[in-house]
Each structure stands twice: as structure tokens, then as C-alpha cells.
């Protein structure tokens, strides 16, 4: 227990030092610090080497740089033109406009985008057990776990850009490009300005609050067009379900005119032939509705597999929606959720935004997912399940759906060691290996 506490304290201290060195000292300053350390080591005995002289000189340089650059209070107005959405792994550019509101010109400054602190708390650090991929050094110092937790929380690394000179009242536009490393809600917290001292070694920092958020959508792979062999099911409400205005327009039959029918429904050609007004009748809407089921019940330590499953679901959400059908996204978070998209209910963005924030469910039983899907079986033409493993519960879900007459395509994101090819062939599954999802999806397309 206390060993973990010690490790946590040590990693926090280490990250503080690294942050301080990286933020407060320019690259030249860090070079001087490195040279200082070298001369301290080599010049330890003042009788054996003259390196102690460079030690004192470099130390004086650093001290003077520090002391000469303590006060820095610029006045700046910052406005960012952020896009609403971004994608994990893809760079998104935006422009920030800054205006110098002070009375002093601002020259030679750097602009820094600050994100929220990605360091884990002690509870989170303790909760994570050892990772299998660490070497012994990482295990002993607890560095591997620290890195993994930071990578989970951090969406984008901080960014520094140099500003052009700004005279009082002048403004400028900075074009910035950020690359988010994972999905989620990117919260930009504040903006800092760094001014180096006259020697270019030490930075004075002035921070300003400017909070803005961007939704980072999950990474998507090219997904095959699946033909879920399903019947068109009767969707009560027809097109008006999806468009809220007017009647549907599938022409089915002709019938005699009844008083009250709108004139535009008259079939003129028939009137010409028969001499009686004849009206076109429109059928109720039948179209295809699919379900995309996402398994959120991941075992502890399988976060990477879950991320891949979310990416797979996102890829399918995009590909299935380009066809003329409705898509229901079903998953269990703190309750059973269902989000619908397609045919005017909204584009893939709605589902992708939902998937961007999907989290692992650790407190509900798996049966909730099964119940949610089963309750909708009447309106479903087909079901695509993205599963994290293939144990008994999941096998039962797939079998139950198939027995109810719903065609199911099950994609399992799993390591080949845990799910053999024979099981896949026997149960009619598709296995997607984490880290090689694109190949797996291409394989799915070929298999069809």
C-alpha cells in the first residue's frame, strides 16, 4: 500500500519537475542546465579539473535569467474558432485570434494552449494493477502504469506557437493544428503566454482562462457495406416518423375518389380513361431498420479492446447510414440507451458524438443489454453486434436473437488466442483482432 503511495508521490514530483523544466525553461535554458549538471559532475574536485569554473558561470547565467524575468502581465484578448467536432488521430486545424489590449507592444512571445491536467489521482493509480507489457524497471518504479493512465486521460498534448509582434491595439490570427490521440471531450482550459528573458533561457508565464470544448469522435476504419438479409418491417408512422410533416409517398394503389380527398392526389390519366375521378393511394411506410449493438461490459484491463470496439461501431455507424435505413444504436451505460439515426433523424454525427463519450459499464449486468435488444425485435430488420468477447452470456444473446428471426451479424473484437477460428466458424462470428481492425473489416467484406 504505502509503496504505491510512494510511487504516486514520486511520479507526481517527477512530472512536476518535467513540466517545470519544459514550460519555464527554453530549449537553450535546458541546454544550459544540462551543461551545468555535466560541469557539476566533472568539476566536483576543484583541484582536478577546471570544470567548476564553468559550473559557477552557468549557474550565474541561470540565476540572472531567472531574476531578470519575474514580472510579466500582458493584457490580451483571445478568441478561438474551434470546430465542433474532431476525430481521434486526425489533425484538426483552427485559428485563434489575439488582440493586444495593453499599452505595451508584445514582442517575441509564445502562445501555449493548456489542456486539463491528465495526471491520475492516487485512487485511480492504485486501482490499476500491473500491465502485462511492462519490463521490470517500469514495474518497480510504477512508471508503466502512470504512463497508461496519463494516456487514457490525455486527449491532446499541449501546444506552443510563437506569436508575431503585436503593437498596442494590433491583432493577429494564429493557425493552430492539434492532433487528438483518443476520443472523448477535449477541454481546452486556458491560454498561456511565455516571454523569454533577455538571454533567451527562462520564460515568464502569464495565464488566462479561456475554456472551450471540442467533441473528439472515435477513430473510424473503412467498413464494408453489410447486407443484413432482413425483411422490410412495418414501421408504424411511415415517413412521417422521420420527417414529421406530410404523408408518405410510396404509391401503392388506385381507388375511387372519396369527398375530402386532396385534389393533388387525383390520378388524371385514370380520369381521362374512365371519366371518373380516381385517387392515388399511398401505402404506409415500410423500410429497413437495423440495430447496432455495442457491448460495453469490458473486463478490467481490457480498455484497449473496448476502444477498438467503439471504433468498429463508429465505422459501421457511418457505413450503414449511407444506405436508406434507420439505425438504432443500443448500449448500456448508466441505463440502457437507444439512439436513432438515418432517413432524416440525423446523420452519422449524432451517433458518433454519442460513441465519443461511451464508457465501460461496470455496475450493470449483461442481461440488460439483451433485454434492450429483445424488446425491439419486432421492428428490427437486422442486427449488428459488436462484442468484446464470446462467453456464455453473449452466445446466449446471439442465439436468442437468431431464434426470434432477427438476422444477426456478430463481430467480436478479441485476441486470436481467446477466440479460435473454429468457434468463429461454428457460431458464425467474425473476429476482429485489436490492432489489426482494418484488415479484419476487409475480411468481413470478403466473407459476405
Amino acid at each position: 500500500m504505502t509503496l504505491d503511495r510512494l510511487r504516486h508521490v514520486q511520479m507526481m514530483a517527477y512530472s512536476c519537475v518535467r513540466y517545470w523544466l519544459g514550460r519555464r525553461w527554453t530549449p537553450a535554458g535546458r541546454l544550459v542546465i544540462g551543461a551545468l549538471a555535466g560541469s557539476a559532475v566533472l568539476g566536483f574536485d576543484t583541484a582536478q579539473s577546471m570544470a567548476f569554473q564553468s559550473f559557477t558561470f552557468l549557474l550565474s547565467l541561470l540565476l540572472l535569467a531567472f531574476l531578470s524575468n519575474l514580472k510579466f502581465r500582458p493584457k490580451l484578448a483571445v478568441a478561438r474558432g474551434l470546430p465542433r467536432l474532431a476525430t481521434a488521430g486526425e489533425p484538426f486545424p483552427y485559428s485563434a485570434s489575439l488582440v493586444n489590449l495593453g499599452s505595451e507592444p508584445l514582442r517575441g512571445l509564445s502562445f501555449i494552449e493548456e489542456v486539463e491536467d491528465p495526471r491520475p489521482s492516487y485512487e485511480q493509480y492504485r486501482a490499476l494493477k500491473e500491465l502485462p507489457g511492462d519490463n521490470w524497471l517500469e514495474r518497480v518504479t510504477g512508471y508503466g502504469r502512470w504512463l497508461a493512465l496519463v494516456a487514457r486521460k490525455r486527449i491532446v498534448a499541449e501546444l506552443e506557437k510563437s506569436l508575431p509582434d503585436l503593437l498596442p491595439g494590433q491583432g493577429c490570427e494564429l493557425s493552430i493544428e492539434l492532433v487528438p490521440s483518443r476520443r472523448g471531450m477535449l477541454r481546452l482550459r486556458s491560454v498561456s503566454l511565455a516571454r523569454p528573458d533577455a538571454m533567451g533561457l527562462f520564460n515568464a508565464i502569464s495565464r488566462q482562462e479561456a475554456a472551450q470544448d471540442v467533441v473528439v469522435l472515435p477513430k473510424r476504419y473503412p467498413a464494408p457495406r453489410l447486407e443484413l438479409s432482413g425483411n422490410r418491417r412495418y414501421q408504424p408512422g411511415g415517413v412521417s416518423l422521420s420527417s414529421r410533416v406530410g404523408d408518405s409517398q410510396e404509391f401503392m394503389a388506385l381507388r375511387d375518389y372519396r369527398p375530402g380527398d386532396p385534389l393533388r392526389r387525383i390520378h388524371w390519366k385514370s380520369w381521362a380513361k374512365t371519366g371518373k375521378p380516381v385517387v392515388k393511394e399511398y401505402e404506409d411506410e415500410y423500410f429497413v431498420r437495423h440495430a447496432l449493438v455495442l457491448d460495453t461490459f469490458a473486463a478490467p484491463g481490457a480498455e484497449g479492446v473496448f476502444e477498438e470496439a467503439v471504433s468498429v461501431a463508429a465505422s459501421f455507424a457511418c457505413s450503414l447510414l449511407t444506405q436508406e435505413s434507420l439505425l438504432d444504436l443500443l448500449f448500456v451505460g448508466d441505463k440502457a440507451y437507444c439512439f436513432t439515426a438515418g432517413r432524416g433523424q440525423g446523420g452519422p454525427e449524432t451517433l458518433l458524438e454519442v460513441l465519443a463519450c461511451a464508457e465501460i459499464c461496470s455496475d450493470k449486468p449483461f442481461s440488460e443489454l439483451g433485454a434492450s435488444v429483445a424488446s425491439r425485435r419486432e421492428s428490427l430488420s437486422g442486427c449488428l453486434c459488436v462484442l468484446l468477447a464470446f462467453d456464455d452470456q453473449r452466445r446466449e444473446l446471439v442465439r436468442r436473437l437468431r431464434s426470434l428471426g432477427v438476422p444477426v451479424v456478430a463481430a467480436v473484437v478479441s485476441d486470436p488466442l481467446l477466440l479460435s477460428d473454429e468457434t468463429c466458424a461454428a457460431e458464425g462470428l467474425h473476429r476482429l483482432e485489436p490492432g489489426r481492425i482494418a484488415e479484419g473489416l476487409a475480411g468481413m467484406a470478403r466473407a459476405r
Binding site: L85, A86, S240, S242, S243, V245, S248, W268, G346, G347
Partner: protein
């Protein structure tokens, strides 16, 4: 008949007239008139209630043209737009009942609400300049100007226009919300009655047709032609763009730049005219990579970036 007006004079009069009704939208009015003079059609994309209908009505009233408005709904049929052959019992013959498209200025409101079948009917009429229904072909008016509007696609219940069809619109722009001071003036104007009711025609249809002819005569140096081609060509290889702009885009940009030069009273095009119209003429024709679209990239951003990266002829 009065002496033909100078083209710039025509422009200024129409603009002034519209400004009485639409305050603080001079850039939008400029683009609208540029499309009118260039012989193309316009797509306005904006939130509801920003005055798109008022703009179209004001334009129609200012030039004394016939104005029709069609509200697109999901159950709208192509025949509701183009027209239908009705069987006349007395004459025992089919009579073509013209649809709302037979007009000078057509406001197609919320065009992305209709089904793709209906949308393509309108777009074909725009492109061809004539309508074929039941074997009969009818030509549309010589001055046929369509102002389509659509809500930004995040609202539910929409069928976004296919990108290949977006090519048919010469310009796309958004009037946008106005500054608060101007919005106050709008409230003052419309306190008792709507100013559009009192709007009268200030130029005639012939003046507008003359304007179109003059627009085609505005001169363009080879260097600026090259600049236009460079801008459009750069969209084809730009990052995040699946399909770049076609040569139709270059033509539209050229015509729009000519119109802008004419608006400024010049008889030749200057670089700022090309830059002014570049986004409106090119951005909506780009087909973006879905990945890039979800990263927040817009056609407008792509074109702006391209213009900033090319050296302007000086």
C-alpha cells in the same frame, strides 16, 4: 423608353432598394446581385428567421419581376413544382397546368426538406431552362433566377442536397445574424408595418437583362484567368477534399468576379473581385472526406486556406 442605364447605376439602385428592407447585409446583397447578373442561381444556407424570404421578395419587388415561393416539404411531388397535365373534361384533352417554376424569381424554401426525387426535378429545370412533362416541353422565362434556401443540416428531418447537384448553384452564401445595433434598427423599422409592403420597383426587367449582357463583356486578363484556375485547381488536391471543384466552378467564379467588377464600376476584373467571390463560388462544390468533415473541416475553410496560400496577382 428611357435611355438604358449604366450597369453600375442599375446595381446601385437595386442594392439601395433592398437595403431599405434588409439592413446590414451589404455583402450578401452584393453576392446576390452578382449571381443575378452572372446568370446563375443562388443557395442560401442559414438558420430560420434570418430574412432569406424577405431578401428574395425584396429583390423581386425591386426589379418588378414575377415572384413565386415554394415551401418544400417531404411529401412534395415533382409535379407540384413543375406542373401537371390536367385532363379537361370539357375539352377532352390534357391541359398543362404550369407549376410554380414558371416565373422570374423563384424562392425554393427549405429545399433540403423534400425527397431527392423532388429536388432533382427542380435542379434539372434550373439547369436546362425548360421543363418536360408528359411529352410536352415548355421553356422557362428568360430571366429565371432561383434562390434556394436550406437549413444547416444538423436539424432533423432533412435530406441534404447531393454534392453533385450542388454544382448547379453558382454561389452559396449565408446572410447570417446581424450586429446588435442593426437588429435594433430592424425592430424600429418593423414596429408598425413591414417595410417590404411599401417597396416599389426601381428598375425594369430589361435593365436586368442588359445588366447580364454587360456582365459578359467585362474584360479579364490572362493572369487573372490563371489565378482563377489556380484557386479551383488547388481544391482538387487539398487535404480532406474527396472531390474537388469542376471546371464549372471556374466558370462560375469568373462570372461572379465579372459581376463584382461591374458592381464597382470597372470594365475589367481586379484580383480582389476574384478573392471576394472565391468562397461563395467554390466552397459548396467540394465533396469532403467524411473523416475530414467529422474533424470540423468545412469547404469554406478549405477555400479560405487556399486563397491565403496563393500569391495574389498584384
Amino acid at each position: 423608353m428611357t435611355a438604358p442605364r449604366a450597369p453600375q447605376q442599375t446595381f446601385l439602385e437595386i442594392a439601395k432598394n433592398i437595403e431599405k428592407v434588409m439592413r446590414g447585409q451589404s455583402a450578401a446583397i452584393r453576392k446576390l446581385l452578382a449571381a443575378l447578373a452572372g446568370g446563375g442561381h443562388v443557395l442560401l444556407e442559414d438558420f430560420p428567421g434570418t430574412g432569406k424570404t424577405t431578401l428574395a421578395k425584396a429583390l423581386a419587388k425591386s426589379i418588378g419581376a414575377k415572384f413565386n415561393r415554394v415551401q418544400f416539404t417531404p411529401d412534395l411531388l415533382p409535379s407540384d413544382i413543375l406542373g401537371v397535365s390536367i385532363f379537361d373534361q370539357k375539352a377532352q384533352a390534357f391541359r398543362f397546368h404550369e407549376g410554380p417554376v414558371f416565373t422570374n424569381i423563384l424562392l425554393a424554401d427549405e429545399v433540403n426538406r423534400a425527397s431527392p426525387r423532388t429536388q432533382s426535378a427542380l435542379l434539372e429545370a434550373m439547369g436546362e431552362g425548360q421543363v418536360s412533362v408528359d411529352g410536352t416541353t415548355s421553356r422557362l422565362a428568360e430571366l429565371f433566377f432561383v434562390i434556394s434556401t436550406q437549413n444547416p443540416v444538423e436539424f432533423h428531418g432533412t435530406y441534404p442536397l447531393p454534392e453533385a447537384q450542388m454544382d448547379r448553384f453558382m454561389l452559396q452564401f449565408s446572410p447570417g445574424y446581424v450586429a446588435p445595433e442593426i437588429e435594433v434598427d430592424i425592430l424600429s423599422d418593423q414596429q408598425t408595418k413591414h417595410p417590404i409592403d411599401g417597396l416599389a420597383a426601381c428598375v425594369s426587367l430589361d435593365d436586368v437583362l442588359a445588366l447580364r449582357r454587360n456582365c459578359r463583356e467585362v474584360r479579364l486578363s490572362p493572369e487573372l484567368k490563371r489565378y482563377i484556375i489556380d484557386i479551383v485547381g488547388a481544391t482538387r488536391g487539398a487535404k480532406g477534399v474527396k472531390l474537388g471543384a469542376s471546371p464549372r466552378a471556374s466558370l462560375s467564379l469568373m462570372k461572379a468576379a465579372q459581376a463584382a467588377a461591374l458592381l464597382d464600376g470597372r470594365d475589367f476584373v481586379a484580383p480582389e473581385h476574384v478573392q471576394e467571390m472565391a468562397v461563395a463560388a467554390v466552397a459548396h462544390r467540394l465533396s469532403l472526406d467524411p473523416q475530414a468533415r467529422f474533424s470540423g473541416l468545412t469547404g469554406q475553410a478549405v477555400v479560405e486556406r487556399i486563397v491565403k496560400s496563393l500569391k495574389s496577382p498584384a
